[in-house]
Symmetry: D3
Subunit: 135 residues, 6 copies
Amino acid sequence: MKVKVSRKAHFNAAHRLYNKDWSFEKNDAVFGKCNNPKFHGHNYDLIVSVTGEIDPETGYVMDMKVLKDLIKEEVEEAFDHKNLNMDVAEFAELNPTAENIAVVIWNKLRPHINTANEIEVVLYETPRNFVTYSG
Amino acid sequence: MKVKVSRKAHFNAAHRLYNKDWSFEKNDAVFGKCNNPKFHGHNYDLIVSVTGEIDPETGYVMDMKVLKDLIKEEVEEAFDHKNLNMDVAEFAELNPTAENIAVVIWNKLRPHINTANEIEVVLYETPRNFVTYSG
Amino acid sequence: MKVKVSRKAHFNAAHRLYNKDWSFEKNDAVFGKCNNPKFHGHNYDLIVSVTGEIDPETGYVMDMKVLKDLIKEEVEEAFDHKNLNMDVAEFAELNPTAENIAVVIWNKLRPHINTANEIEVVLYETPRNFVTYSG
Amino acid sequence: MKVKVSRKAHFNAAHRLYNKDWSFEKNDAVFGKCNNPKFHGHNYDLIVSVTGEIDPETGYVMDMKVLKDLIKEEVEEAFDHKNLNMDVAEFAELNPTAENIAVVIWNKLRPHINTANEIEVVLYETPRNFVTYSG
Amino acid sequence: MKVKVSRKAHFNAAHRLYNKDWSFEKNDAVFGKCNNPKFHGHNYDLIVSVTGEIDPETGYVMDMKVLKDLIKEEVEEAFDHKNLNMDVAEFAELNPTAENIAVVIWNKLRPHINTANEIEVVLYETPRNFVTYSG
Amino acid sequence: MKVKVSRKAHFNAAHRLYNKDWSFEKNDAVFGKCNNPKFHGHNYDLIVSVTGEIDPETGYVMDMKVLKDLIKEEVEEAFDHKNLNMDVAEFAELNPTAENIAVVIWNKLRPHINTANEIEVVLYETPRNFVTYSG
């Protein structure tokens, strides 16, 4: 009896999308106003899901409070009210697109969750743009 | 041409999370304030999805009105404005975690839906905590 | 330049609606399934608004973090994961309808907020039922 | 590293559900008030998802602006503020149920998206009724 | 102790915006694609609020079940799955803009609610366009 | 017959909260992580409401398309994907708190709207923090 349990979290951050190896003109052509060198920002909504067997003693796949605290420690404290390009080591060389942020979050969470369980990360950059990564 | 059709419903209920075979102290350590012996409660949001072939005569996989009425009879009338632990037979011995409630709902619906179709149950305990069960 | 600043919070609780001076039959006729003696429950969403002048030094009417912490101390810690009828002193004799809960919350917050500022409390019992109280 | 990127859009339209080969009575029995010959209507919310590899140069699976513009050209301009039965060629002979609209949208988008990528269409007819089609 | 109690409802309908005394060209210039003679449609969300004193015996300003049933009888049964221009008498001569629909709803509800209480109608034509009328 | 018509819009921006005349330490004590010198950001949701009489010829208080375009020109083009502190003249000397942003938006819109009509601006900095300004 596999169940997927999901926890929603959020963080607010500034970022700029660009490729360091490209000219400003090429970055402008590809990333448009997301390439503003003075940055723009988002309220990111994050849903982390963990799929596994229900523990018959607790009725839990994973205690949501534990998942909530894990997201807080690994993601919110690292990203919230930060400039992703300048304050977060993972994006020093990696363009902080929604796709790449989702992969980074998945990689940060993976070592802390039972390896028998699968992880899925959904990241909303805006209510209209979001991405899903499952490893 | 398989399509998944989904219907959202809701019910309000009281519950308490605990394991009858444990001491109050152990329940408190594991379930925290969810172990309040006087109960707390939630507005549960429920999404039931049925996946199958489109009937070429109607353009429906399953009539949403039929699905709506089935959820009402099997789930809302049994759970709405109830104390899950005390009023609902399925939870007399089973801890009413979101995971277990989703499995119980899936089992209640399964006999009433065409066996050629798959069923998925998503249950929101709060807008930030939810679970998914597909059998 | 008066501005209204608003902060959203939430708590989960069990309750039962009834009038102690009435028979069970009369309570049943008036409160229906809300009169379940074993309780039911809700995820309450709460919006507290404070209206006042912008402080020219901070650009704030009231620091949202302060408002957030005040709601946490006065409302969430008192009501969250509680049985409103049995665990909360204010409802020992008062029917915990959405209307009465909103008035109780307003009265709990009023002494802690600058008297030059007006307070408004919006309380959602469900996404479809909510009440507003402004003193 | 496959990621699913999703873009939300919407359109407003009138429609009527019925089978041309059936009597009015049979249509009424099956489709109820959806069979109103003078039409009714909906605000349709649409989520289109594209799953593929992240391009290491851009950090994108697919530029969301390109996806947004594609949905606008292929879906919104064809369906928005239209009578689906009378104004949209695809529904001249096909009942515009949510299921069939989702399949039509998927078929309209498929030729314009990299064949290495998978497409999923989620269509909300109302916030409580929605369908998912993945080809 | 005046409290405002609010109840959310919804209905789906087709409509066309135009002024019968104008040419098609003028209607097109003013109402654009809302002037489609074959109609378009919306999921209308409706919030009806009633402001009054709390009854000390019930703790209610007005029983939400009574308000829910009143909205169902007066508004949902008259407007849901209808063509507002053709099926609803009030719009035979009145352009069914959100503004006019809100006024019509307010006028339909006013005779059924205690005259000591104030009424407010909020009508969402889409999640981005809405109107408020208080008499 | 006065009606309030409301239009929802949004923009994404980076900002930093601080008072130029204060030390970094004092700014840190007052604004906390909002004082990150490298900025953070938000998805701002904006609701602009205009209250006035219904024009009997159109049934409109104000054409929502005109209001939508006005918000786009005056607010979205000035603020979207910008660094509020560095890119927007109004905040060169003014702390871009939600309160101050709402007042700036109101002042930008006021000259473009019929003086017989009242304007209200609601600005969501996050889904949990928002402000309202009515002039």
